[in-house]
């Protein structure tokens, strides 16, 4: 899926923590998104019932994925489209660039899609000489900056408006002001012309609908609609699980998705595509292709413990409430998908607990993510289970393993536990000032560099209790 970062997670996080501008932009944005989400959820009197319904639909879909995928395929074909299955990212890239070459495409416009990030589509298309234009405003900004999304819903969350104005000014060759109207007017001017000349439109997919063979796009800028109506050829790329069984099921998932993501009741545009233009129709694409990407999802599907991770509808709310994401932003995760959901699915999609197994530790297990998930994925629990699986698979540091072994030996019995506590209480004596260990000590550095450590008490509670019992 992704190109592996060269540094370890901790070092990537340290680097991110030094970027005050990014951290400020992220804090501001997630606070706004979360408070909008809370308001939107409260407006719906039975929010929990909507969540339950969305959860059931997703669970049912994922548990019967083979059935619904065959239905979807059948119905896309009935509607005049073609369906392609890609087992790996490479397969997907080959299929898509093959299609573009087949249609002699020189220029492609794209609407927002995380799965195309996942399969690293843009470089593959550029390699065969195709010009790719991202048309989602944030994605366009990142394309100019040569960066990747740091949030699945708000890809350029880490950038402030001054930085965006600088990027746009470079393209324009003149100064573009940093107010919203100036920025959007400039982007619109550039993007509009690319829609007119593009040969192929490539989109992501919020929800495919099995019973109708449709694809649903949820957007705010209208670029999704232009991407799918102006070019003659449309290619939709979807993660294999991004589906609901019926048109009716859209109601529940579309009720929770925008509310949970940005606090919107509805996004500005919800587009449902039903294959290419029919004979009597006046608009729409001439050719429609659906590329269904596995790229590790079957592996998750087969694993009962983690299957629920496929319920995700990519609302990004778990990013917004995560206290770790809040501090380090998305790039420090080093993966295409960051935040809590990314920390769960990345090691699973990659089937790699040795390197990507670091990500489940990028969490305090505070539970905020699971609590906000609109389809009730117990993210904190999946993070914990991944840690367990990582250790069981033997991916552990020698020192850490030794430390827990020692801890177990001393803590499993009261006698040895008491001995250890007594030893600590006596051993610490030269280090204690006013009830705290204040100095930064080599063995305790990770704690004492930023905090005082309270001194162990002279007499433990159990000593006190024992004495009290005896004096009675």
């Amino acid at each position: 899926m992704s190109n592996r970062p060269s540094m370890h997670f901790r070092d990537r996080a340290v680097k991110a923590l030094k970027d005050d501008q990014m951290r400020q932009a992220v804090r501001k944005a997630v606070d706004r998104l979360s408070s909008n989400k809370d308001k939107a959820a409260q407006e719906l009197p039975n929010w929990e019932e909507w969540r339950e319904q969305a959860y059931r639909i997703r669970k049912h879909t994922v548990e019967n994925l083979d059935y619904y995928l065959s239905k979807l395929t059948e119905n896309v074909r009935k509607a005049g489209g073609q369906v392609h299955f890609a087992q790996t990212a490479e397969d997907a890239r080959t299929i898509i660039s093959g299609l573009c070459e087949h249609y002699e495409a020189k220029q492609v416009v794209k609407s927002k899609s995380m799965v195309t990030e996942e399969i690293h589509l843009n470089p593959a298309l550029e390699k065969v000489g195709i010009k790719v234009m991202e048309t989602d405003l944030a994605e366009y900004i990142l394309q100019l900056a040569g960066e990747t999304p740091s949030h699945i819903i708000v890809p350029a969350i880490h950038k402030n408006r001054q930085q965006i104005a600088e990027l746009f000014s470079k393209v324009a060759g003149e100064e573009i002001k940093s107010d919203t109207p100036s920025l959007t007017a400039f982007a619109r001017k550039i993007l509009r012309s690319s829609f007119m000349t593009a040969d192929v439109g490539i989109t992501g997919c919020n929800f495919a609908i099995a019973e109708t063979g449709s694809v649903t796009l949820v957007t705010n800028e209208g670029n999704g609609r232009l991407t799918t109506s102006l070019p003659k050829v449309v290619i939709t790329v979807m993660g294999m699980e991004r589906m609901v069984p019926t048109f009716e099921d859209l109601e529940a998932v579309l009720s929770v998705l925008p509310r949970n993501a940005t606090g919107q009741k509805l996004t500005s545009y919800i587009s449902v595509l039903n294959g290419p233009r029919r004979d009597a129709e006046t608009d729409g694409c001439e050719k429609f292709h659906l590329v269904i990407v596995d790229n590790g999802r079957s592996h998750i599907l087969a694993d009962e413990e983690y299957r629920q991770a496929l319920h995700c509808i990519r609302c990004g709310a778990c990013f917004n409430v995560c206290p770790v994401y809040r501090q380090i932003g998305g790039h420090a995760y080093g993966s295409v998908y960051g935040g809590p959901i990314g920390s769960v699915i990345t090691p699973l999609l990659e089937n790699d607990l040795a390197f990507w197994g670091e990500l489940p530790y990028a969490s305090t297990l505070c539970g905020a993510c699971g609590g906000v998930c609109p389809v009730k994925i117990p993210l904190h629990d999946l993070l914990l289970k991944l840690r367990q699986r990582r250790i069981d698979a033997g991916h552990t540091h020698v020192f850490e393993k030794f430390a827990f072994g020692m801890w177990r030996r001393f803590f499993k019995m009261p006698s040895t536990y008491k001995f250890a506590m007594k030893a600590a209480s006596i051993g610490q004596k030269p280090l204690v000032t006013n009830g705290y260990i204040q100095a930064q000590l080599p063995l305790l550095a990770n704690w004492t560099n930023s905090r005082y450590l309270p001194a162990a008490a002279d007499r433990t509670f159990r000593d006190i209790w024992e004495k009290r019992k005896n004096s009675r």
Partner: protein, 242 residues
Amino acid sequence: MKASIFITCICDSFYPHVGEAMVRILEKQGVQLDFPPEQTCCGQPALNSGYWEDAREVGESLLKAFKNSEYVVAPAGSCVVAIKEHYPRMFAGHPEYQRQAQELAGKVYEFSEFLVKVLKVEDLGARFPQRVTYHSSCHSRRFIGVDPHVRVLLSNVRDLEYVPLTHEEACCGFGGTFAVKQPEISEAMVDEKVRNILETKAQVLVGTDLSCLMNIDGRLKKQKADVRVMHIAQLLDEGMKT
């Protein structure tokens, strides 16, 4: 009513006075307390780091200790949650232990939860004339739901001036071994917590989980900030003495 104290290793060795405060309050309510000495630690450090084998062996001490208890009360929400959420699964594969784990999960309570839900006590007649703010610990809040209990207990303390904490629900950055495995992120988190606490101009920060309080207190003290960090049992106990 009889109940057993589950002191937790952090309270036992670092904050025994919190345990004593809890005992005084519960005994005043007529609870007959015992302290089964077989107990050591709930195993959370290992459990949360993925070392379930190690956690299981240590957790067995609690199963033995509380086998015959009617109720079990602890001054730390996260230790209670470790038992409730994880023990039944941690001991899967050992039918007898698993049964005991499920039984323990059903009778273990966090201190303020025990007061309000089991003893039905909301007003201890305490007086505490200070400006107080509250950090809502993640596990206590999300998995036990103690916030309403803490709020009602604090609201009945005479002369206590309660000031809400911005982002009271945000994790303090402790997270068990997270604090030492990712010390830089942890510091950034506790720093934001401390900034919010200082903004309230509170004299006292109160909470329900000693490990979070240890983390926040450690940062406050390092910054020489003059805020007293107290467990809810301590605050109520002091308030009942005046």
